[in-house]
Amino acid sequence: MSKMWVIARREFLTTITRKGYVFAVIGTPLLFGAIFGISFLTSGTLEESVKSRSEPIAVVDRSRTVDFDLAPTVETRDPAPPAAGMLEKAAAKPPRIVPYTDMTEAIRDLKEGKLSAVYLIESDYMTTGKIIAYSPEHGMFSDLASPDRSRLYDLIRASLIKGRIDGETRERILAPGKLKQMKVSKHGGVENGSDALQKAFRFFGPFSMFLLLTMSIFFSSGYLLQGIAEEKQNRVIEVIWASVEPMELLIGKMVGLGAAGLLQVAFYVGMFLLPAVAVFSLFQISTAGLALSFLYFVLGYILFAGLMAGTGILGSSPQESGQLSAFWTLLSMIPMFLLAPISEAPNSWLARGLSWFPLTAPVAMLLRITSGQIPWVDVGISVVTLATSIWLAIRGAAKMFRAAALMYGKRPGLGEVIRWLREA
């Protein structure tokens, strides 16, 4: 077995048995699960919050606009359109609307919990439309959902058109539309887009894949950085140097740790993404898209592994090496900070520019692949710039290895690094 494979095998086995790796493989999906869980639990909390408001609302009508006799007819009609989602459905059972004449009394009952809200319709309502709502403090979501308010509006509308408009026209005024939402996929398919779970997965599915691939790039190249910094710190690098060439060591490490990264991705795909595709048919990424994602994962990993290795060898400790390499990580994560504009317009000049710049290309392209069709010219340009950068990064890293591997306790300056890159 060549020395490169001996190194690759050891790096792979050492890495996949690390606690940090196991935590990353299992912990990352758990983290996503927790985010999903919190999201749904929060929805549940909101639902409960809305449901708990079974107390009536009070209306103090100083303008004498409201005909409270119409309240039962408004309350019995389901005001929530089918596509309105969970929140409105949760509030489908409307509260009773109770007329109050004395504002002080209404506020007192609100304080005592006998009412869920008090609405004061001012005497100049017809000219100003002014209504003041009083509600108890119910936490951060209390102001987001006020189905009782729509009930009041329905009652006001019904009161205003009473005796003037009847029949279907009256019904449409009171409920202008029952919205059903449809989604048109990139392949031309039309399907019901109203399901909340599907809506959530439609976004989180491709985004999760992008995020997992991106994280795997940085996890794997991070292991490389850490391994090299540790070998320098515990001086074992000199022993290895006496047996292998810098390039053999670098490539061996990259292959071994890349394999560990691929295993991580394979685990995610096998355990989470494939079942999601099979069960929910949630992904709208083509086979070409998946192949491109894999390509950019591999290219991105090799580039950042080379950069991390070249930087990691400069630090005098794993911590210092980590700090030095943060520059690459931050630079490469720029597309993440521009997530919204790139997702909304994956073929904008911003997105395309970031795809052509090698350091941001892997993350930008992975993100664009999940967001829409990409011109092949962008694929060509980004692959060429990435391949060139990889060649430069690995050559540079090998030079750094030879020059800086045995510099203990002192970090070379920028000028010295540039000189090494020129001379070595």
Binding site: K3, R235, E238, V239, W241, A242, V244, A405, Y408
Partner: protein, 299 residues
Amino acid sequence: MPANLTAIALTSVRKTFRGVVAVEEASFEVERGEIFGLLGPNGAGKTTLLRLIMDIFRPDSGSIQVFGHPILSKDKERIGYLPEERGLYTRQKVQAVIEYLVQLKGVPQPQARVNTLFWLERLEMLDAKERKVLELSKGNQQKIQFIATVAANPEILLLDEPFSGLDPVNARALIQVIQELSAAGKTILLSTHQMNLVESLCRRVFMIHHGRQVLYGDLQAIQKAHSEKSVIVRSNANYSTCPFISQASANGRGTQIVLSEENQPRDLLAWLLESRAEVELFECAKTPLEDIFIRVAQR
């Protein structure tokens, strides 16, 4: 010396770091099968020389040949290197670490395992094979490092301070192993401060100071060259009255006398005879290597 008898040859090697000269005009040859001593004070350039030989550093000028040619990647498999800065994967098990380092010398895994177990037993470390390196004492870690160096069965051994951290018992065991390896035809380049060991193990030495060669050649010849003015005498003479003596000190066998620059041992002998002293022993002394080392280092 014929090339086929030379294991390592350095010619006018120069190496600088950030403009500071680490090695200047270093030239020496190490014969196949010999134990060659590389001496010098701290910071003299010994470790740099070893790293240059291993192609870890590259010289600014001059040439380095190993096995009769500039070192190739493949040649590294035939050289075992024990660096002064010990380096092991401390969180891994002893046997796994040695096997990995031996495999990096091109030894197939099954043979690497056989060799590893042999050497662990040879240095009485077999019980530690499943322990993590960091659980071992410094001395035992040193033995593990030595095993990792020799277990690939290299033809040349570069040993940088191999006895540091070892107690006298383990140091003696290691000396015996080094002698056995030499007897088996291995070439050993020994860099150490322990002059008594150099005297007992090495036939030839190279001493470097401030990056420059200060001594090179046959150890006995060097000692003789530095001992012309030193004599061991056992007699009843009153040395304080002798005008030729610059220093006299008790020696286990008599008095060691260092003569003045302009005088020779025969002058002292003539003075002893003239002063009718009873002379039981008169011997030109060999200056201990340690004294030569200190004298050279203090220049």
